[in-house]
């Protein structure tokens, strides 16, 4: 059994949603070896569709894939303006959940990105750069077995 299975992620994201008033919070995690190390949305709250459960993320594709690959946080304050409405289908979670402003941060374990935390609103501009920075400062601590920033030591 892996470490994060013991940690109650669902409770944690519910709390995050509550604290910041997000419309949607989701966590994508690298699955175990038996599941071919796939990157999947494992926990979500505020979702309006079950589609996220079926999606296997590809590294470098979509928002979470991009964060997963680059290891850097990603903020979009206006979905249509930044991603364009024509190519939105390439960002299934954003599209399906109708997120208009959102941010994603990498989750590190032993200096490697092992997951992505996505938070967002269904209205444009609600997650501003300041709000996202504020959120990251508060969340900077440990999230279960993961850290939200790269650790230099270890």
């Amino acid at each position: 059994m892996r470490k994060h299975d013991r940690f109650d992620f669902q409770e944690k994201i519910e709390q995050i949603k509550e604290d910041f008033g997000f419309d949607f919070v989701g966590v994508a995690l690298v699955q175990s070896a038996e599941r071919r190390f796939e990157l999947r949305w494992t926990y979500a709250i505020g979702n309006r569709s079950e589609r996220y459960r079926r999606i296997v993320l590809q590294s470098g594709k979509g928002i979470a894939g991009h964060v997963f690959k680059s290891g850097k946080p990603f903020l979009v304050d206006n979905t249509e303006k930044v991603l364009g409405s024509r190519d939105l289908f390439n960002y299934p979670i954003i599209d399906v959940e109708g997120l208009k402003s959102f941010g994603a941060i990498p989750l590190y374990q032993s200096n490697r990105v092992q997951g992505v935390l996505l938070v967002g609103y269904r209205s444009v501009g609600e997650l501003s750069a300041e709000a996202f920075a504020q959120f990251r400062r508060v969340i900077e601590t440990q999230i279960g077995p993961y850290t939200s920033g790269e650790r230099i030591e270890s």
Binding site: V30, R36, R51, R54, I55, R86, F89, S110, R112
Partner: protein, 361 residues
């Protein structure tokens, strides 16, 4: 040979001259117009007609924009008029006509009375034939472009699948061997992480290969290719495709399979992009000696008559183009809020169901 009296023949020739859609001019030895018919009058400007009537030898040059030689599309070099010894039975000439601009004619210029040097100049409008030719060329071109694209995709797809992915797999196997060697925990963990990265990379390459052109389409046929594709759609976009096939793994001509696959792919993508649905129904079956494909969703739908399409509007056009390539019929039924239903029907050549040309090219 059928014999008619000279009077009858005269009558027929006169009628031909008066009623023919071809423009007919009679020129004398000096290049003066001695007669022209109604069809000829219709294509000429009043000014040209006046000058012809006045006996101006150069009048025809006002309207003639040159003929097609081996060197040039429109030229006046060694003009057909200036070369009385030569009979040219058929050539192409461009005339500046009244109301229609410069259009091509097929022309003949021949001596009909050697003694008096009378020659006849006949013109037949080529615009229609040109349009037909152009359409044909365009279709052939489209067909070739699509074929070239498919072939190139097939080549790269195979290269990725048989070359790059294979190499990747063997290095993955080599890496796994490390796990059974005497290495310490830290190294083991690192190896495991690298294994994960490599596996995801391998998956990416395989996706890329299948996305370009599924090998399954050539090797196993439509059903297998569709099942793989729909599984991929579900994994990538979370859209569920309910696929029913009543073909029992039957194979069709390579071109037909490609057309059906690409059209279905586009139709499902459209549903994914615009219909705002979580599921799509696809049915593949044979009926009335034709291969039938139905793609239906219960989503947003759209107004078929709308001028400004959501998206580029090229998708539906491309689907129709592809359908035409296989002499298929594409029907699109949709209305706002009523979902969308796309039906493709491709007639099958009798007895030609099993064709072994899937790996050509």
């Amino acid at each position: 040979m059928i014999r008619v009296s000279d009077a009858q023949l005269n009558d027929l020739l006169l009628k031909l001259f008066e009623n023919s859609a071809e423009a007919i001019f009679f020129f004398d030895r000096h290049g003066k117009v001695i007669a022209l018919n109604h069809a000829a009058e219709l294509i000429l400007d009043a000014e040209v007609l006046d000058r012809m009537a006045a006996g101006d030898k150069e009048a025809i040059c006002l309207t003639c924009k040159g003929y097609t030689s081996e060197q040039e599309m429109q030229t006046c070099m060694s003009c057909y008029m200036k070369n009385p010894q030569q009979d040219i039975s058929s050539f192409q000439v461009y005339l500046d006509t009244k109301g229609k601009g410069v259009i091509p004619y097929t022309a003949s210029y021949q001596t009909i009375d050697v003694e008096n040097g009378i020659r006849v100049f006949m013109l037949r409008d080529l615009t229609k034939q040109f349009k037909t030719q152009e359409m044909l060329n365009q279709k052939m071109m489209m067909k070739n472009v699509i074929k070239a694209q498919e072939d190139e995709r097939k080549r790269i797809s195979r290269e990725l699948h048989d070359g790059v992915a294979q190499e990747m797999l063997s290095s993955l196997v080599e890496l796994r061997v490390l796990k059974y060697m005497n290495v310490d925990q830290e190294v083991l963990q690192k190896v495991q992480q690298t294994e994960g990265t490599l596996m995801r990379l391998l998956d990416d390459i395989r996706h890329l290969s299948v996305e370009l052109r599924p090998a399954a389409l050539d090797d196993l046929g439509l059903e297998a290719a569709f099942r793989t594709h729909f599984k991929w759609i579900e994994k990538n976009y979370g859209l569920v495709v309910h696929f029913t096939s009543e073909l029992e793994s039957k194979r069709f001509e390579g071109e037909v399979e490609t057309v059906v696959y690409r059209i279905c792919q586009e139709a499902v993508f459209n549903a994914l992009k615009y219909a705002d649905v979580d599921e799509v129904n696809v049915r593949l079956f044979e009926e009335n000696e034709a291969l039938q494909l139905h793609v239906a969703d219960q989503g947003a739908g759209f107004d078929l008559n709308i001028v400004q399409p959501k998206g580029t509007g090229l998708g539906l056009y491309g689907m129709r183009e592809r359908a035409e390539l296989a002499e298929g019929q594409l029907t699109i039924a949709s209305a706002p809020g009523k979902g969308t239903r796309i039906q493709l029907e491709i007639p099958l050549r009798k007895g030609g169901a099993l064709v072994e040309d899937h790996n050509r090219g």
